[in-house]
């Protein structure tokens, strides 16, 4: 019998609840933190703009909840997640019809073909971060 276990290797990930939104919130935190320019380190981040497709397994409310927890005591504490929902758009490979899916039915409404290409809806992207203006101005003035 040959059983090995992996689980005691440890990981940099802190213990968190069993939902993947937590891991995703941590990724968002790390990407957003790394995007703050050196000259603006310590500035308050007001918001983070995200694009989330309809065909993702993400609950925006859970993501916000997790982000509030992981961003505590970081320059991103209190930053709002501005989520733009991206529609699920498919194209039929057969008749080239393009349409927006509202339900889970993945057949072409025109020719009923099931050979489809996904044009959008799997997005999970950070678009931008918004740094509070006031802080920047006083910072710039202070430097001048």
């Amino acid at each position: 019998m040959y059983v090995k276990t992996l689980g005691c290797l440890g990981s940099s990930a802190p213990r968190c609840s069993a939902m993947h939104e937590m891991g995703i919130a941590m990724e968002i935190l790390s990407i957003a933190s790394a995007s703050i320019p050196e000259t603006l380190k310590g500035a308050k981040v007001h918001s983070i703009r995200l694009k989330i497709g309809k065909l993702t397994a993400l609950v925006p409310e859970s993501l916000r909840f997790c982000f509030d927890i992981v961003s505590q005591d970081t320059p991103l504490a209190g930053a709002r997640l501005l989520i733009e929902e991206i529609p699920l758009v498919m194209r039929c490979d057969q008749c080239h019809n393009e349409w927006t899916l509202e339900g889970p039915s993945f057949s072409c409404p025109a020719c009923e073909s099931g050979r489809l290409t996904l044009l959008s809806g799997r997005d999970l992207d950070i678009e931008s971060i918004e740094i509070e203006e006031e802080d920047n101005c006083s910072r710039m003035e202070g430097k001048a």
């Binding site: 290797l9 939902m19 995007s35 065909l55 339900g103 993945f106 057949s107 992207d125 971060i129 918004e130």
Partner: protein, 224 residues
């Protein structure tokens, strides 16, 4: 002041998954990621599959659970190398991610192995989002669950390449509408192969095993 970022949130996982995929390609290992809700019989399906396939195709298994080595203990009776991952140490995560597979592959000796099953954590939501570097994804549902699982969890059924409906031996005792279940799968994924099996009695296993063997053969001959 707005600062442009424009990055995929899961880019780290995607990069790691590509690395895994390259490694599996170099080693000539065909990888199948098996996902389902808890209790639909992934481990039983694998037990039966290993008993029928491991003599012909050198196989290994990575099995993910939040806690316990129960599944690995069962699968190891087949004699193939089994590695249990407890995600408890990775933050108690509800799914396997590509970096966990990378560590697991380090631990597991893949030389001579042609087929690797990854039994994901029982969950129809989160695992769907994480590419592990696998060749094929398979979703298992069972006759003791609702027929509407595919339309409730479209991402999972849309991103998988094949579906197994397990526990067919229970059909005479249940109100399960098998045809409706198949229709629901095909609604979400019109061209998905569906295998109706009983991992307990072995009913329907031939078609499932043939599908696996053909995929492994295609990869070894360079056709994908």
């Amino acid at each position: 002041m707005e600062i442009k970022v424009v990055r995929k949130v899961l880019s780290v996982n995607e990069r790691m998954a590509e690395q895994n995929r390259r490694l599996f390609f170099e080693k000539g290992v065909y990888v199948i990621n098996i996902m389902s809700s808890p209790g639909s019989g992934k481990t039983a399906l694998l037990e039966k599959t290993l008993s029928r396939i491991a003599a012909d195709i050198p196989t290994a298994v990575i099995v993910g659970d939040i806690c316990t080595t129960n599944d690995a203990d069962r699968l190891a009776l087949s004699g193939v190398p089994v590695l249990q991952i407890n995600t408890d140490a990775f933050g108690g995560e509800c799914h396997l991610a590509a970096h966990v597979i990378e560590k697991a592959v380090d631990e597991l000796n893949l030389s001579g192995i042609r087929l690797l099953f990854i039994e994901n954590v029982g969950n129809l939501v989160c695992p769907a989002e994480f590419d592990l570097g696998e060749d094929r994804r398979v979703v298992v549902m069972s006759t003791t669950e609702g027929e509407d699982k595919p339309v409730k969890y479209p991402l999972m059924f849309r991103t998988c390449h094949a579906a197994v409906i397990n526990k067919s031996d229970l059909l005479p005792y249940l109100d399960y509408d098998l045809q409706q279940a198949k229709t629901n799968i095909l609604t979400v994924h019109p061209e998905m192969p569906i295998f109706t099996v009983s991992a307990k009695t072995g009913e329907g296993m031939e078609a499932w095993l043939d599908w696996i063997k053909n995929r492994v053969r295609e990869k070894s001959s360079g056709v994908k």
